[in-house]
């Protein structure tokens, strides 16, 4: 297993953000972490990245404990989020150069150029990052996230600011890269159609607790709904799995 989370608990000032969360992710799997705002997705991801200290439970990535092997785990991992940016006044290539250095990537120029070409933004190499459109900027973030050939990629709403065309291209590209390189991807999004399309398996969180888990089609069937979006709405409105599962299909 690439990720093994066991009984993860995170409590902030008496509020439980993540409540006894356990899950695993296998090599080459795309796992969707879903839930309404405040469900605990971001806390779970940041705990996986070692920037939040869990209250209880254990996290093992690549078979190593994140608390004791954070640096070696992060060397094999990367992250991209719609809520973080790259320095706006550096040009695209300079940003990739800096992060290639941070991840100790050899042949950085070759690698960066290849990724820019892959994401069809190679013409922007010398442009300031602040001058990119949100779609171009998202694709640059993904280039940064793939610089170190990660075995694990954590993507927090990576297509949040993209138009449908670019979002579709990005999803297809991610799928292709994941297949070719066998990367494990932990993916969060509020776009349920996207999740259905890209994820092998999903985990629904609500108030920090895991209330459903499985391949998208299975989860949809279990909740007697037509789509993952309907499952999402039902979970967000009804809350607990037990209550939701008790309700007969309409």
């Amino acid at each position: 297993m690439v990720i093994e989370v066991r009984d993860l608990v995170k409590v902030y000032d008496g509020t439980t953000a993540v409540d006894r969360l356990s899950f695993t992710a296998a090599r080459g799997e795309i796992l969707g972490l879903l839930g309404p705002n405040g469900a605990g997705k971001t806390t779970a991801i940041q705990t996986l990245l070692g920037i939040i200290e869990p209250t209880a439970g254990s996290i093992r990535v690549f078979g190593q404990d994140i608390r004791t092997h954070r640096q070696s785990i992060l060397q094999r991992t990367n992250f991209s989020s719609a809520y973080v940016s790259l320095p706006q006044n550096l040009c695209v290539m300079d940003n990739l150069r800096v992060f290639a250095g941070i991840y100790c990537v050899d042949n950085w120029r070759e690698k960066a150029t290849g990724l820019l070409r892959l994401f069809e933004i190679d013409r922007l190499a010398t442009r300031k990052t602040g001058q990119l459109s949100s779609g171009e900027s998202t694709r640059l973030h993904l280039c940064k996230a793939l610089l170190n050939d990660p075995e694990l990629l954590l993507l927090d709403e990576p297509t949040a600011s993209l138009d449908p065309d670019i979002a579709d291209k990005v999803r297809k590209l991610l799928r292709r890269i994941q297949r070719e390189r066998g990367i494990t991807i932990l993916y969060t999004s509020h776009n349920m159609r996207e999740i259905e399309e890209i994820c092998d398996r999903v985990i629904f969180l609500h108030h920090g607790r895991k209330i459903a888990e499985g391949p998208p089609r299975e989860v949809i069937a279990r909740f007697n709904q037509q789509s993952l979006e309907q499952v999402f709405i039902r979970i967000a409105r009804d809350g607990e799995l037990q209550e939701a599962e008790k309700k007969p299909a309409s």
Partner: protein, 265 residues
């Protein structure tokens, strides 16, 4: 500690200056303005005093230059951190395999570069405009500047820890903390000017020994080495305390999940 990562972080900060003339101007603008004010004040005091004011009043220019070096060393640490906060790049850095030590060493290195560039420019200007030669301090210049840099780093680390813990509300500390110690560290006047009860506080600050030492060299030509050793010893204590403070608050920040909030706001 990985030198490649430190170089990459340092490069990131240096590239900012290559890409932004306003940042370059900011480094020089305030120090040069300060130098002009203190330089003209010094000239005025000498002229008005007409012999009654000793020529060593030029130490005011030296004090101003030394104060700026201390300030730049502190800013090297704090502003580098804030640049990542403002750019919403902090998470990218802290979810990379960068250790806190590597991050801090990169900011210290930037502090050294800022101190050297600023020091040289101010020294040349002071010599050209006011015939004040900071190099008359001779070899004592090196340990004095080193001591100021160490204190700047200690203050910078503590400031960054406070900003991480209290977020944007604490940003003003990046500029405020050095000025909190300025009145007590006898920059422009001797410690003896301070009220009796405040003097032990002044002597507890490493930079006080540097400013007093500099005045001593200009007055008598003698190098008060004991001042430097006191300063160095106190700096070791301050750096250790600041590192422990940083480590403690970084732990609090991880428990409270504040880094993610600061990095994405």
């Amino acid at each position: 500690m990985n030198l490649r990562r430190i170089n990459a972080l340092l490069l990131r900060y240096l590239l900012l200056y290559r890409q932004s003339w306003t940042r370059v101007m900011e480094i020089f603008f305030w120090p040069v303005m300060d130098l002009l004010v203190w330089g003209f004040l010094t000239n005025y005091l000498i002229n008005v005093g007409a012999g009654s004011v000793p020529a060593m009043v030029t130490f005011l220019i030296g004090s101003m230059i030394f104060w700026d070096l201390l300030y730049r060393a502190q800013q090297g640490v704090t502003i580098s951190f804030l640049e990542d906060v403002w750019a919403r790049n902090l998470l990218n850095i802290f979810v990379a395999p960068v250790t806190i030590t590597e991050f801090l060493v990169a900011t210290f290195a930037l502090g050294i570069i800022k101190v050297l560039v600023n020091g040289l420019v101010l020294a040349l200007l002071a010599w050209a405009l006011y015939a004040f030669n900071i190099f008359q301090l001779g070899f004592t210049l090196i340990p004095f500047v080193l001591s100021l840099m160490l204190m700047g780093w200690a203050m910078g680390m503590a400031t960054v820890a406070l900003i991480m813990r209290w977020g944007h509300a604490a940003e003003a500390l990046a500029w405020g903390i050095p000025f909190l110690v300025q009145p007590l560290s006898a920059v422009f006047y001797p410690v003896s000017v301070l009220p009796q009860w405040l003097q032990p506080v002044a002597w507890a600050l490493p930079c006080t020994y540097v400013f007093e030492g500099m005045r001593e060299v200009l007055r008598s030509g003698q190098v008060p080495w004991e001042m430097f050793w006191w300063s160095l010893g106190l700096n070791v204590v301050y750096l250790a305390a600041s590192a422990l403070f940083f480590r403690y608050l970084f732990g609090v920040v991880r428990v409270r999940g504040l880094l993610g909030k600061l990095g994405a706001e």
